[in-house]
């Protein structure tokens, strides 16, 4: 046993990798289901109003069409807090693209064509779809996403700002962005009496099963959700979205299994996007760089259906020490689809603004941007006063600076040229909270000598399945090959979704606990395994409650080198380098992919992604991947992700902090800061398009 190499930490290839590249891995839409029919949504063509009449006659007269559903004949659902899930429950239209009817037909093609023949007449009201600071209906929600207080005010920010020898006051904005995972949202719903089976592209099969059960008025166990393989989610598959509900509703209505798959275009209004933000950051510092005041205000949007307020300024609350701090959120509820969780909600847009402002402060102080951050390093969480379980921001900055060659950097902006190209580099900090939720898991010793571990985790392409098997192998003290792992099904027990970078910590804790219990039982039986195997179960609810009160966060530092074409304004990121402190890294290979993927998505946010609202139609106009630009391979040149060895015993038995989201945090600020260093001009609005750059270049 002592010879056995630890599986945790190794660069293990994905267990299901071969199945994926050979096409053997099944995604939600691909399960063969006898007698299946197809539902196609009819989406509203107005942004606000009511459906007056739906005329489905022309659709119903087409071959193969089984039903036209609308709010008049669709099955009733239980009331829900998430009004996006109340599909076809009323004729009110809250945004353009909302589902107002659906056609069910024997083939996908028939359903799609008939949906185009459904005539919908509306009573249309004037709509308001543009986020603007002078909107009279703006308000300050008491709490924001994830339960954070909307406003926090400590000390006297105005006075401290007025008295500060050096101050920054700048407004930043980030656009609406779309999650756009590779696998479009897809569902198969099958009813058997009052039991519902749902194959779903899903980040949280168990939580979806609970939500659907509540929606259809069923007991928790009546809904079974299967999500063996999921082609990305980025937050958009964490909560059941309207297409999933539509499949279940339509299957109930017609008494046959129903498939729903969205087109890429439909996804843009029907599944999650990130709110646009308008943020003002004010910093006041002494000549030594120490912050006396931090003020960060963010305006964002939600729909009229759901009050979703992204927690944009929450990272500012824990980043830097300053005696006077004010952080506020404001919200406008517009006639738009409901925004939601997209990779690092809060941290991504919030840290773009804060870390850009920190760079502006460094220049105002004539201080190195890294040193400004170092002198403001807090000794405890500035907000709660709690000690950090571990905080290695400074170590990440130092390590990154050494690897990047920061010491040789001349801070003067706008002076490096390589032919037509202006060259610059920038740095920004990253942070992401350590979320952990209670989970259950089962470990089994099989009579044949193998082990099986079951947990209702979701592997959305991250490598979660493999990481959990590694954790199990080490706890069981057996080679990885002897561990069979089952995930992706709600029936495996209660478990949180893959979100908030908490999967490996939450599920891994339960897996580790179940395995330890099994090892103990096996030891008590001197290793004898009964003929039907030996099984232990774990539930981490109490363990979580018994954790010490501490502030738990991951940190990182991101460095970017850019070149800007002085003739065209095009920005090219020559190099990205990130160093992260995120606790124990379970799988060096998949972790690297997560961090690089996050950084690439951050680059994409910095330069390209922009979901554009068309004020006239109230629709996102560029609703396909030709119009909505995501970074392509050729946009990424040199890119490196590193991590420092961080041992933190106050997290969970595995010692993980989570790595799914931190990679996207700070990247955009590092790039924007590098563009400033290259051109001498600040870019405070994302994305940094060539026309925005050109507007600031000297003529």
């Amino acid at each position: 046993m002592t010879m056995l190499e630890r599986a945790v930490g190794a660069a293990v290839a994905r267990i299901e990798g071969r199945d994926k590249v050979t096409g053997a891995a099944r995604y939600a839409y691909e399960y063969p289901v006898p007698d299946v029919v197809y539902a196609w949504p009819v989406q509203s063509t107005i942004a606000r109003g009511r459906v007056r009449v739906i005329d489905g006659d022309a659709a119903l007269s087409q071959p193969d069409v089984i039903a036209v559903l609308d709010s008049g004949n669709a099955p009733r659902l239980q009331p829900t807090d998430d009004a996006e899930m109340a599909v076809l429950q009323s004729g009110d239209v809250a945004y353009r693209g909302q589902i107002v009817a659906a056609v069910v037909a024997g083939t996908l093609e028939a359903a799609r064509e008939a949906a185009a023949a459904v005539r919908v007449d509306y009573d249309e009201d004037a709509h308001d779809v543009m986020l603007r600071t002078d909107d009279p209906q703006i308000f300050a929600p008491e709490t924001v996403n994830a339960g954070f207080p909307g406003v926090l005010d400590v000390g006297d920010v105005e006075r401290a700002l007025a008295a500060a020898p050096v101050a920054i006051d700048a407004t930043y904005s980030t656009p609406a962005e779309h999650t756009s995972p590779m696998e479009p949202h897809a569902t198969i719903a099958i009813w058997d009496g009052d039991a519902l089976t749902v194959y779903n592209g899903d980040q949280g099969p168990w939580m979806t099963s609970m939500a659907l059960a509540a929606l259809f008025g069923l007991p928790g166990g009546a809904v079974s959700v299967i999500a063996d393989h999921v082609g990305g989610g980025f937050g958009s598959k964490a909560l059941p979205r309207p297409p999933t509900v539509l499949a279940a509703l339509a299957a109930r209505a017609v008494g046959r299994p129903v498939k729903v798959a969205l087109t890429r275009q439909q996804m843009f209004s029907l599944v999650t996007y990130r709110t646009p933000t308008i943020q003002r950051v004010r910093l006041g510092a002494g000549r030594d760089g120490r912050l006396a005041a931090i003020s960060h205000d963010s305006l964002q949007q939600s729909s009229t259906l759901v009050e979703f307020c992204e927690q944009t300024v929450t990272p500012t609350r824990i980043m830097y020490a300053a005696p006077n701090r004010r952080t506020t959120h404001r919200l406008a509820q517009l006639d738009v689809p409901t925004p939601g969780w997209m990779r690092a909600p809060g941290e991504m847009p919030g840290m773009f603004a804060l870390e850009s402002a920190m760079d502006e402060l460094a220049y105002a102080l004539r201080m190195d941007p890294i040193e400004v951050r170092v002198v403001n390093e807090p000794s405890a969480d500035p907000e709660s006063g709690l000690p950090f379980s571990s905080r290695n921001l400074v170590a990440c900055l130092r390590e990154g600076a050494a690897r990047f060659g920061w010491a040789e950097r001349d801070p003067t902006p706008g002076v490096r040229r390589d032919g037509r190209w202006l060259i610059g580099s920038g740095v920004a900090a990253s942070t992401y909270p350590v979320y952990t939720m209670a989970s259950t898991a089962v470990a089994r010793a099989e009579p044949g000598g193998g082990f099986t571990v079951r947990v209702a985790a979701a592997d959305i392409g991250t490598g979660a399945r493999t990481a959990l098997a590694q954790i199990a192998a080490d706890e069981l003290r057996v080679p990885l090959e002897r561990v069979g792992i089952e995930v992706g099904r709600s029936g495996l027990g209660s478990a949180p979704f893959a979100g908030g970078s908490m999967g490996t910590s939450s599920w891994g804790w339960a897996v580790s606990k179940a395995c330890r219990a099994l090892v103990k039982e096996l030891a008590e039986r001197s290793g004898a395994i009964p003929s039907d195997g030996l099984e232990t179960q774990a539930d981490t609810t109490e363990d979580l409650q018994n954790r010490k009160q501490l502030s738990r966060h991951a940190f990182g530092a991101q460095f970017a080198e850019v070149r800007v074409d002085a003739d065209s304004g095009q920005v090219r990121v020559d190099r990205l380098l990130g160093v992260f402190a995120a606790g124990r890294i379970v799988n060096a290979r998949t972790a690297r992919s997560q961090l690089l993927g996050g950084m690439i998505m951050g680059l994409s946010t910095a330069l390209y992604e922009n979901l554009e609202m068309d004020p006239q139609s109230g629709d996102f106009a560029n609703h396909d991947l030709a119009g909505y630009h995501i970074a392509s391979n050729s946009d990424v040149r040199r890119i490196e992700a590193h991590w420092i060895d961080e041992h933190d015993d106050e997290l969970n038995p595995v010692g993980t902090k989570g790595i799914g989201e931190i990679g996207i945090v700070g990247t955009a600020a590092a790039i924007a800061n590098a563009v400033h260093h290259a051109t001498g001009s600040r870019q405070r609005h994302l994305p940094i398009t060539l026309d925005r750059v050109r507007a600031t270049l000297p003529r």
């Binding site: 063509t45 087409q62 071959p63 193969d64 083939t107 093609e109 028939a110 064509e113 185009a116 087109t263 275009q265 037509r420 003739d567 065209s568 304004g569 095009q570 090219r572 330069l607 390209y608 554009e612 068309d614 004020p615 006239q616 139609s617 629709d619 106009a621 560029n622 609703h623 396909d624 030709a626 119009g627 630009h629 970074a631 392509s632 391979n633 050729s634 946009d635 398009t689 060539l690 026309d691 050109r694 507007a695």
Partner: protein, 332 residues
């Protein structure tokens, strides 16, 4: 289900007959644009006539330095052709800057010329668009139009022609060979092939129903000329041009511009040949001031909209850089 029939044409006469007088019939080449538009409901042909087996799949370099490019030559093949790369490098550059490797392997020369605009409103049947449904209005003028046209546009339509290849062909004085529906052959200079929108933006070319593009002819470039295609876009690959410039330049020993040809993409409803600018420049020294004046002359007739006025300035800078590079003797 929306049924449509599919036929594979074995000769051009049969292909023309199958399409002529059947407004619901369309030629299918690579299908990379047409099939997408069918899925979106923008194109609703009752019959697809597959022309990919017709014998227009060759590149023929002629002794006089000209080249005849079959309408069914794939973009990838054309961009890789050694003769094209050597003597018409701007065409190869334009092709390689377009779409993706997979798309170029399927897309054809004829289909590329005849691809439709990427205006988001044209592609969305739930929104008004004069090009798609005449008389319904233009959603772009009062909506989002950053990516749309600044010159040659009209009050009815500000859409741009998206092709990179066609911009290079415009600067190379391409001649389009057409087999008319009645069987006669006709040649049309590319500069007369496309129509400006005026108040009939749905009419985009001189082709009538059943007219088949068979070849594109490129005359030999001027002796001693250098050329370039430069595409500026919103990401480094797989994006349509924000603005592109194709230029052919021949200089005399003292550095004056003996011949200069310019074409622009991303700014107009058609591949835009910048004749005004050419006139200003020909026979002169390409100083930055003169180049700026030339671009100004070209854009005197521009009709920029609030979100896309920057394109004029960008095109001016790109013209300046490109011509100066080429006049400096470098194949930039």
């Amino acid at each position: 289900m929306r049924p449509f029939s599919y036929e594979r044409a074995t000769d051009s006469g049969a292909a023309a007959t199958a399409v002529k007088d059947h407004p619901e019939a369309m030629f299918l080449a690579g299908g990379t644009n047409l099939v997408d538009l069918m899925k979106l409901g923008v194109a609703r042909p009752a019959t697809l006539v597959d022309i990919t087996r017709l014998p227009y799949d060759r590149i023929e370099h002629r002794a006089d330095g000209s080249v005849l490019i079959g309408a069914l030559v794939r973009n990838s093949e054309l961009s890789g052709d050694p003769g094209v790369r050597e003597r018409f490098p701007a065409l190869a550059e334009a092709l390689l800057s377009g779409a993706s490797g997979q798309l170029r392997a399927i897309a054809t020369t004829g289909g590329n010329l005849l691809q439709r605009t990427r205006c988001p409103y044209f592609q969305d049947v739930t929104k008004p668009c004069n090009k798609r449904t005449p008389g319904t209005g233009c959603s772009a003028i009062g909506g989002l139009h950053r990516d749309l046209g600044v010159i040659g546009t009209s009050d009815a339509c500000v859409a741009t022609h998206p092709s990179d290849m066609a911009v290079a062909m415009a600067v190379l004085d391409a001649i389009v060979h057409v087999r008319l529906a009645d069987g006669a052959d006709r040649t049309v200079p590319l500069s007369e092939f496309y129509l400006l929108p005026g108040d009939t933006p749905h009419r985009e070319t001189v082709l009538a129903s059943g007219d088949l593009v068979t070849r594109v002819e490129l005359p030999a470039p001027p002796a001693g000329a250098v050329m370039r295609y430069w595409k500026v876009r919103d990401r480094w690959s797989y994006a349509f041009a924000v603005v592109s410039v194709a230029a052919v330049v021949a200089t005399t020993a003292d550095g004056t511009l003996r011949e200069v040809r310019l074409a622009l993409g991303g700014v107009a409803p058609v591949p835009w040949r910048a004749r005004q600018a050419e006139q200003v420049l020909t026979g002169r020294h390409p100083t930055p001031e003169l180049l700026r004046a030339a671009a100004q002359a070209e854009f005197a007739a521009a009709r920029p909209l609030p979100q896309n006025a920057f394109k004029i300035d960008l095109a001016t800078d790109m013209i300046t850089t490109t011509v100066r590079h080429l006049a400096g003797g470098r194949q930039a």
